[in-house]
C-alpha cells in the first residue's frame, strides 16, 4: 500500500481557555472517505479548517502527499504553494453554498473559473466541461447562464459540488454538505455525492453532526467530544457497536424515523 495522502500529527488548537482540538492524529488514504462527527462545539469544524490549511494549529502538523509523491507539511509551505494545492488538488464544499460560489457570476462561469485558474484558456472547452458537469449534477442545461442567485438551495449545493469536482481533485473537504437543505432534497444529493466519490475515487474528509450522513458517505469515522477524538474506526462498527460511553450516548439518542 502506498503512503497515506494526508497525515495529521498531534494537532492542538486553543481559543482562549478552550481547547478546540487536543492532540489529534490520524491518516487518510487515497480514495478513503473519513467522517468527523460530534455535537456543536466538539471541535469538528476547527479540525476541518486545520486539515484544509485554513487555520494554523498551535502545535502539530498536517502532511499532504502531492502528485509528485513527496509529503510536505502544509504549514511550512508558502502561501502560493498552498493556494496552488487548493486549486489543483483539493475541493472544499461548504455548508453554505454562497460561501463556496461566486454569486454574481453565472453557473457556467462558476464551474469554468476553476479550470481557468489551472491555465485553461479555451472558451469552447471550458463551456463544454461546464455543461457536462451541470448535467452530471442533474441541473438542467438551460440554467447554464443563470446566476446562482436564481437557484434553489439544493441546486446551489449541486453547483458548488460541480465547481469543486471539475478539476478532478484528489481530496475534497465537506462541511455539513446537506446541512441547511430541505429533507426532500437531501436524499438525492447524498446519492449524487456517494456516486461521485465512488466513480472518481475521491478522498473525502466530511464533517457532519448527522450520523446517517456519516454512515452513507464514509468508510471511517472519528467521534469528537470537547476537542478530543473519543473513538474512531470503521464507520458501521462505531455506529452499531460503539465502545466509548460518549459514542453510545450519541448513537442511542438518534430518533429512528
Amino acid at each position: 500500500m502506498s503512503a497515506p495522502l494526508l497525515v495529521a500529527e498531534g494537532l492542538f488548537k486553543r481559543y482562549g481557555s478552550i481547547a478546540a482540538c487536543r492532540d489529534i492524529s490520524f491518516e487518510l488514504d487515497e480514495g478513503e472517505a473519513l467522517a468527523i462527527v460530534g455535537e456543536s462545539g466538539s471541535g469538528k469544524t476547527t479540525l476541518l479548517h486545520l486539515l484544509g490549511g485554513l487555520l494554523a494549529p498551535d502545535s502539530g502538523a498536517v502532511f499532504y502527499r502531492g502528485r509528485d509523491g513527496a509529503s510536505r507539511n502544509l504549514f511550512e509551505m508558502s502561501e502560493a504553494e498552498r493556494r496552488a494545492l487548493m486549486r489543483a488538488d483539493w475541493g472544499f464544499v461548504h455548508q453554505d453554498a454562497a460561501r463556496g460560489l461566486r454569486m454574481n457570476v453565472s453557473a457556467g462561469g462558476n464551474i469554468g473559473e476553476r479550470l481557468m485558474a489551472l491555465g485553461d484558456r479555451h472558451y469552447g472547452r471550458i463551456r463544454g466541461a461546464a455543461s457536462q458537469w451541470l448535467e452530471r449534477v442533474e441541473i438542467p442545461l438551460a440554467r447554464l447562464d443563470d446566476s446562482p442567485q436564481t437557484y434553489s438551495g439544493g441546486m446551489r449545493q449541486r453547483l458548488q459540488i460541480a465547481r469543486n469536482l471539475v478539476t478532478a481533485p484528489r481530496l475534497v473537504f465537506m462541511d455539513e454538505p446537506t446541512g441547511g437543505l430541505d429533507v426532500s432534497v437531501q436524499a438525492r444529493l447524498l446519492d449524487l455525492i456517494r456516486g461521485l466519490i465512488a466513480e472518481m475515487g475521491l478522498a473525502v474528509v466530511l464533517v457532519t453532526h448527522d450520523l446517517g450522513v456519516a454512515r452513507l458517505l464514509s468508510n471511517r469515522i472519528l467521534v469528537m467530544k470537547q476537542g478530543e477524538v473519543v473513538e474512531s474506526g470503521l464507520t458501521d462498527r462505531v455506529l452499531d457497536d460503539p465502545q466509548a460511553p460518549y459514542t453510545q450516548l450519541l448513537v442511542s439518542s438518534v430518533l429512528a424515523a
Partner: protein, 238 residues
C-alpha cells in the same frame, strides 16, 4: 489451528459481550468461545433459538461488531486476513472483494431506484457500468421482481419484494463468502426456490455461505451443516 487450503473462513475462540455504559457499565454477554470453519463451496447454517447470538456471529464475521478476542481468518487468495485484527481500510477492501452480507432488512438511500441500488452494488464490487447493469437486470429477473418496479425506490414495496431487492444487491458482486441473515423469511415458495437455485449456482463456483434460515425446507435443501449456536451462548435461559 492452521487453515487448510480448502478453507474459506476459520473462526476461532471468538468472544462477544456488550458493555452498556449508559446502564452503569452492565456487561451483556452474547457468545463465547465460538469456533467453526466454512470450506470453499460449503454452506454452513447457524441454528438455535432466537436470542442465542446467531446474528451477532454474522455481524462479527462481517466486521460490523467488534470481537473481544479470538480470530476470524478469511481467505484472500493464498493468504488469510484476520478480520478480528484488520484495520478499517482492510475490512472495507475485504467487503468489496471477498465477503458480502445480506441483512434481514433492506437499508438504502431514500428515493434511489431499485435498479440503481442493485447496479451500484455491482459497481462497488468492481464491475464496469454496462456489466453492472446486465448483472442487475439478470438478478432482478431471476428473483421475479416485475420490471415495472425497477425504476421505483423500494420503500413502498412489500416485505417480500424488499427482501428480493436486498438479495439481488447481496449477490451482485463477486464475493467468495456470502453471509445471509434470514434472506427468505418473507418469501413465497416460488421465490424461495429462486434463492435456493442462486445459492446452489454460486456454491458450484466455489462460493461459501454462512447463513441463518428459519425456514426448515430451505435449510434442509441448502445446508451442508447446521451449527447449534446454543453451545456458544453465555445468556441464561436463551
Amino acid at each position: 489451528m492452521t487453515p487448510r487450503p480448502s478453507d474459506l473462513l476459520v473462526v476461532e475462540a471468538l468472544d462477544k459481550a456488550f458493555i452498556l455504559h449508559l446502564h452503569g457499565g452492565k456487561r451483556l454477554p452474547v457468545v463465547t468461545n465460538v469456533s467453526f470453519s466454512v470450506a470453499r463451496g460449503e454452506c454452513v447454517v447457524l441454528g438455535g433459538p432466537s436470542g442465542v447470538g446467531k446474528s451477532s456471529i454474522l455481524k462479527i464475521v462481517f466486521g460490523n461488531y467488534r470481537s473481544e478476542c479470538g480470530s476470524i481468518r478469511l481467505a484472500d487468495g493464498e493468504r488469510f486476513l484476520d478480520i478480528a485484527r484488520a484495520s478499517a481500510r482492510e475490512i472495507v477492501d475485504a467487503r468489496r472483494r471477498l465477503m458480502g452480507y445480506v441483512s434481514q432488512f433492506l437499508r438504502v438511500i431514500p428515493r434511489v431506484s431499485t435498479f440503481d441500488i442493485v447496479a451500484a452494488a455491482a459497481r462497488d464490487a468492481g464491475l464496469e457500468a454496462s456489466a453492472a447493469k446486465d448483472r442487475a437486470s439478470s438478478l432482478l429477473t431471476r428473483l421475479n421482481l416485475p420490471e415495472r418496479l425497477w425504476s421505483l425506490p423500494p420503500a413502498t414495496f412489500s416485505g417480500g419484494e424488499q427482501q428480493r431487492v436486498n438479495i439481488a444487491r447481496g449477490f451482485a458482486g463477486e464475493h467468495r463468502l456470502l453471509i445471509l441473515d434470514e434472506p427468505t423469511a418473507s418469501l413465497d415458495a416460488t421465490n424461495r426456490e429462486a434463492v435456493v437455485e442462486l445459492i446452489a449456482e454460486r456454491r458450484a463456483g466455489g462460493v461459501g455461505f454462512l447463513a441463518i434460515f428459519h425456514d426448515d425446507d430451505v435449510r434442509a435443501r441448502v445446508a451442508d451443516r447446521v451449527l447449534d449456536v446454543s453451545k456458544f451462548s453465555e445468556r441464561e435461559g436463551a
